[in-house]
Amino acid sequence: MGYLLNIENLETSFNTGDGVVKAVNGVDLVIEEGEIMGLVGETGCGKSVLGLSIMGLLPTNAEVKGTIAYKGLNLTGLPEKEIRKIRGKEIALIPQNPSTSLNPVLKIGFQVAEVFHLQQRLPWKKARQAAIEMLRSFDFPDPGKRAEEYPHQLSGGMKQRVLAAMGIAGEPSLLIADEPTKGLDALIRIQVVEILRQLVLRTSATMLLITHDLKVASCLCDKIAVMYAGEIIETGPTRDILSLPRHPYTRGLIASLPSNGLVPVRGLSPSLIELPAGCKFHPRCNQAAKDCAQKHPRLEIVDDGCKVRCLFNDQNCKPEKKLFHGSFQKEAG
């Protein structure tokens, strides 16, 4: 299996009136074909910006450095016309916020059909049929009638399904799901996880799942990358990350899950305009030593497939008690 996506030393920053916001700071990330990579982190750690950087959908004040190699083609600095051919067809986005991500004045059938028309070159009539079939496969009752409705007539879970349908309509090789469960209540969240799981089983697509919800990531992803202040601080197979987290921040995230007693990580995530020197997590770390404020740790390989960005990763390697008690475990490998 080759690399589908190979991100090297990616830096994304925004020029704003308040200064340069450094949202992504030297991210290296590899996604192999057929795997589901979970990108986990607090709100504002730069994970959505990373997703949009891949799609080339950042606002005009953004600056992207480094390489994003998709099937060997570097996407950074690609002219708009070229990257547009990638969007929807090669890499598709399932945007965050289902309630605002559908166009309120267009029928949902049209919004799905548009992708078939554009990406699969189907004439409108056939594209419409395909859209209805797609909605049916996402368990829409009476999809022919539903296709004639507008987004405000659908429930939150249905909107999410429309967005998922739109995402896979172009048969992309890589799906980026940006916070698919953000702001949803528990019941719909389970529904959405189900939708994504179906999606993965059905299309055997490669997926980058961006989420702040470690639990959602744990039940869907093969691998997890934990992001903090624009850096990947730990990555590895889901099981290893959850059973043997090496970075204090990852441990903090796991401890803050409701099933583990909601112990919050103390402090707030740093401003992306003035990042702390040394290890970016040290002001919040309860194991920080003197060195942490000065030395910036590298992302180092600790054992097969796992990498961690911490000066004391050797000491942290000791197996601890099982921290994670997931309630919806992953089925089917």
Binding site: P95, V105, H152, G170
Partner: protein, 315 residues
């Protein structure tokens, strides 16, 4: 949709009653005795004898209570009788109807001109925000808003008619006579609409669903025309409907300058002649146009915005 429409139309009844009441009472609260004014007009400005004024007041029904007068007047209005003009003695309704086409073509063409300029300019300004084009057109819009109609009318006349001799200076006839008045009226409106179109478009293109549309791989122009435009037009349509009132107000000035025999000019002349029935007729007419253009706005609003259409509607 049908119920929405029906409700809108039913709501017109109290509005129209209010309009007639206000129209009628403003004329009667205005200073000056109409009977005296009429006689003064007939006598060429000389003071009329008291006796004659009293007799005319009695004859015109000005001595009976206000609400009875209103009732009588309303009854006539509903039957299509707006009274006779003091000046010409002809029925006001006939006078209005004969002048209506001139005003209608002016209002329609100027609205068309304003939309034709404003919508593309507003879209381009928003899409190419802060570019030279944007700054240039927004300064243009500012000028357009600030220019008084009568001044622009005179400039256009001087340039296109007197200097270049391309178009007639004033008067009424074919399309050639319509161009300058419509352009005068249209530019002022275009300026306002362009600014609104721009700000509306700017707001829309930062919405999440525009990102979704881009992520589909749509070319940018299709994102704008297919996904953003319909949303951005919603406030613009509302405004254009209200602008029809502006067009009528402008018509008073523009028709007078270009000597077009429209309702605006008729109102202007009637005011100077203190022709009460004619003024009343014009005001009532303008109010009606205003109310019905708002109805059209509501209908097109429902067409553009499905959230309105389905509100307690078909479901």
């Amino acid at each position: 949709m049908l119920r929405y429409l029906l409700r809108r139309i039913l709501m017109l009844v109290p509005i129209l009653l209010g309009v007639t009441l206000i129209t009628f009472s403003t004329m009667h609260l205005a200073p000056g005795d109409p009977a005296e004014l009429i006689l003064r007009g007939r006598l060429g400005g000389a003071d009329p004898p008291r006796q004659a004024v009293e007799e005319l007041r009695e004859e015109m029904g000005l001595n009976i209570p206000f609400y009875v007068q209103y009732g009588k007047w309303l009854k006539k209005v509903i039957q299509g009788d707006l009274g006779n003009s003091f000046r010409t003695g002809r029925p006001v309704l006939t006078e209005l109807l004969s002048r209506f086409p001139a005003t209608l073509e002016l209002a329609l063409l100027s609205t068309l001109i304003s939309l034709g300029i404003a919508v593309p300019v507003g879209i381009i300004s928003a899409v190419k925000r802060n570019s030279f084009l944007d700054i240039f057109s927004m300064i243009g819009a500012l000028l357009g808003v600030s220019m008084p109609n009568f001044w622009l009318a005179l400039l256009l006349m001087m340039f296109f008619s007197l200097k270049l001799g391309l178009l007639p200076v004033a008067g009424y006839g074919g399309f050639r006579y319509l161009v300058l008045p419509a352009v005068t009226l249209g530019t002022g409106m275009a300026a306002m609409v362009a600014r609104l179109m721009r700000s509306s478009m700017l707001e829309i293109i930062s919405q999440d669903y525009i990102l979704t549309a881009k992520a589909k791989g749509l070319p940018y122009y299709r994102v704008i025309t297919g996904h953003a435009l319909k949303n951005a037009l919603i406030p613009v349509v509302t405004y254009v409907g209200l602008q029809l009132g502006w067009a009528l107000e402008g018509a008073v000035i523009v028709e007078s300058i270009f000597a077009r025999p429209g309702i605006g000019r008729y109102l202007h002349e009637s005011v100077f002649a203190r022709d009460f029935p004619a003024i009343q007729g014009c005001v009532l007419f303008f109010a009606l146009v205003f109310v019905f253009s708002n109805l059209i706005v509501d209908i097109s609003y429902a067409y553009l915005n499905p959230r309105i259409r389905y509100e307690k509607g078909m479901e």
